[in-house]
């Protein structure tokens, strides 16, 4: 970007280049055409598959549209209707509870495992990879099916809990536990944030711990006063990513609860309800409005996270440069 930094290269090139215009190769016109050519697939994609659909979706959200007849303009009606739609409110509630539970539980577990693995010991690579595994397959239909089976009535988990005298009647079929079962499925996929935490932990200078130890700081003290502040940028990054992801859970919820969020609407996630409205009973206008409310919701939460981050995310000189 800054001219100062590229100036030396350019001078060198000008000196050697005997072509017609000495600066031609690094100046705008030449690169311009090439730039747009290289970018053309992306530009077509962004126009046809992103910006165009966004505009259309915004328009549709103000209409009544069933996919077969032309959309009719109804203004804000879709948006107003949401607030009196019991199932919509339910889906907001389910999603909010899920995000509030799954994100912190998963992050705490991921950090705990990362700290456990953050020491030079034999088998490091193996352990890291093994803990990462579930992250890759966790989003698949196969795993969701297995999960449902492990947690259904009379199943492995149920039998195990019965031995301790806890009778849940199977998590999958019990509205009080079905959401928790999906939270556990999310936590099980702690590998991705764990690996990112590990990268962050590696950046913490060892001298800080040594100095703290000399000063007589215990384990807990070192964790709160050194580890946490030093990895706060990574923690924030994980928090942001996991939150945005948690809002969009679909496959596991669909496989476990179907399009109606069984049992008893306890897994009626926002995305499930949106899918059911749009592709179940072809209320495309309403579903579009729901999508924009989701975007608004995710946007607000993101802004909120960035706001609070000012208070607890510390960028020290070193780690700041890395990003």
């Amino acid at each position: 970007m800054s001219r100062a930094t590229i100036a030396p290269d350019r001078r060198a090139e000008v000196a050697v280049d005997r072509g017609p215009g000495p600066r031609r190769r690094t100046r705008l016109p030449g690169d311009g055409l090439a730039g747009y050519l290289f970018l053309s697939p992306w530009i077509i994609g962004i126009v046809l598959l992103t910006l165009g659909p966004m505009a259309t979706s915004l328009y549709l959200s103000f209409t009544d549209y069933d996919l077969f007849n032309t959309p009719t303009w109804i203004g804000l009606e879709n948006y107003q209707r949401m607030f009196t739609d019991a199932r919509w409110l339910r889906s907001v509630q389910v999603t909010a509870i899920y995000v509030a539970l799954a994100v912190p539980i998963k992050l705490v577990a991921a950090l705990a495992v990362a700290m456990l693995l953050n020491s030079k010991r034999a088998g490091q690579g193996f352990y890291r990879a093994a803990f990462y595994g579930p992250s890759l397959i966790g989003g698949s239909v196969g795993v969701a099916i297995v999960w449902k089976m492990m947690f259904s009535d009379d199943s492995v988990v149920d039998q195990l809990l019965l031995r301790f005298g806890i009778d849940t009647g199977g998590w999958a079929g019990n509205p009080d536990f079905s959401l928790m079962m999906l939270v556990l499925l999310a936590t099980w996929q702690l590998g991705a944030p764990m690996v990112i935490f590990l990268a962050g932990l590696k950046q913490v200078p060892r001298e800080l711990y040594e100095a703290a130890e000399v000063d007589g700081a215990g384990r807990a003290r070192r964790f709160w006063s050194i580890t946490l502040p030093m990895i706060s940028p990574v923690l924030f990054f994980n928090l942001l990513l996991e939150t945005i992801n948690a809002f969009q859970v679909f496959t596991s919820a669909y496989v476990v609860g179907g399009p109606n969020g069984q049992p008893a609407g306890s897994t009626l996630f926002y995305t499930i309800y949106l899918f059911d409205r749009g592709f179940g009973d072809y209320r495309m206008g309403y579903a579009s409005a729901m999508a924009w409310m989701l975007l608004l919701g995710v946007g607000l939460v993101t802004v909120f996270l960035f706001r609070t981050a000012r208070g607890w995310v510390f960028y020290s000189g070193d780690s700041g440069d890395k990003r």
């Binding site: 659909p53 456990l116 020491s119 595994g133 397959i137």
Partner: protein, 278 residues
């Protein structure tokens, strides 16, 4: 740390934790060899009377479509997704990382912004577009985005990678008369291999596991990839043939697990440097 007992305790602790994490996978693998009645209500991990009956039932197929067909469909979708994503993302990344042209900063900002966009905002109009083009129940809607660099994560990943390559390399090639295409093809691409491999692996696995896209766009069972076939299988058997269901789930996971075993080094590093999701 100083005492050997500490080290032993650490290994025991980590292995115990790992046992819990890997238990579900081992449990399914074992369950596929048990008769259906022995799966539910039993805490036993290993099958007492191992049987291949579950796999035999799976190979009979669903609604008259053989399981091989579903594998083939998944493979076609995954391979084309990989080719499309790697090619289009690398092209876009080269432009963003190395070329100077009007509007680059704005376009780059748009690209980054799409990282945060929930895809729900796009699916309905995209569906309407593909419906008007009469492309529902084809693979086009599932693949178009892949060939148009729609996954901003990967463009960003490759951009970051190219940026850390020394500029002198392409500058000197240009002095020798190389055009942008030559620089891209002969210098940048070979050096980007780690980023491209990461992109390819993740694209393969995501495509293989994708459920939502096929659920919306496909309606003919013999075009279904595995995740949809699995769902169909549940509906067909009303979820009661546990053994076969497990066997099919396991089969669907095998390619992903193999991929993981072969490429885990790249995967784990790719995640920690780019923050990619699993």
């Amino acid at each position: 740390m100083r005492r050997p007992w500490g080290r032993v305790a650490w290994h025991v602790g980590v292995l115990a934790l790992l046992a819990i994490v890997l238990y579900p996978i081992v449990w399914v693998a074992a369950a596929t060899f048990k008769p259906s009645e022995a799966i539910v209500g039993s805490l036993q991990l290993l099958p007492t009377a191992p049987t291949l009956a579950n796999y035999e039932r799976v190979f009979e197929g669903v609604v008259g479509v053989g399981v091989g067909r579903f594998f083939w469909n998944s493979a076609v979708l995954a391979v084309l997704s990989v080719v499309g994503t790697v090619a289009s993302s690398a092209l876009a990344a080269y432009a963003f990382a190395r070329l100077r042209f009007r509007g680059r900063t704005v376009l780059f900002a748009i690209m980054i912004a799409t990282l945060l966009l929930p895809f729900h905002v796009l699916i309905i109009p995209q569906y309407v577009v593909f419906q008007n083009l009469d492309l529902i129940d084809t693979y086009v809607p599932l693949l178009a985005g892949k060939f148009l660099a729609s996954e901003a994560f990967f463009v960003f990943l490759i951009v970051q990678f190219i940026r850390q390559l020394p500029r002198e390399l392409d500058e000197s090639a240009k002095i020798d008369g190389a055009g942008h295409w030559t620089v891209f093809w002969h210098i940048i691409l070979p050096l980007c291999r780690p980023a491209l491999i990461t992109t390819a692996i993740f694209t393969f696995i995501w495509s293989w596991n994708d459920f939502f896209g096929p659920l919306i766009y496909l309606s003919t069972p013999d075009k279904y990839p595995l995740p949809l076939a699995l769902q169909l299988f549940i509906d067909e058997t009303t979820g009661s043939d546990f053994g076969a269901l497990m066997a099919m789930s396991m089969l669907a996971l095998v390619p992903v697990i193999l991929f993981f075993l072969f490429f885990q080094r790249f995967l784990v590093e790719g995640v920690s440097t780019s923050g990619l999701k699993g």
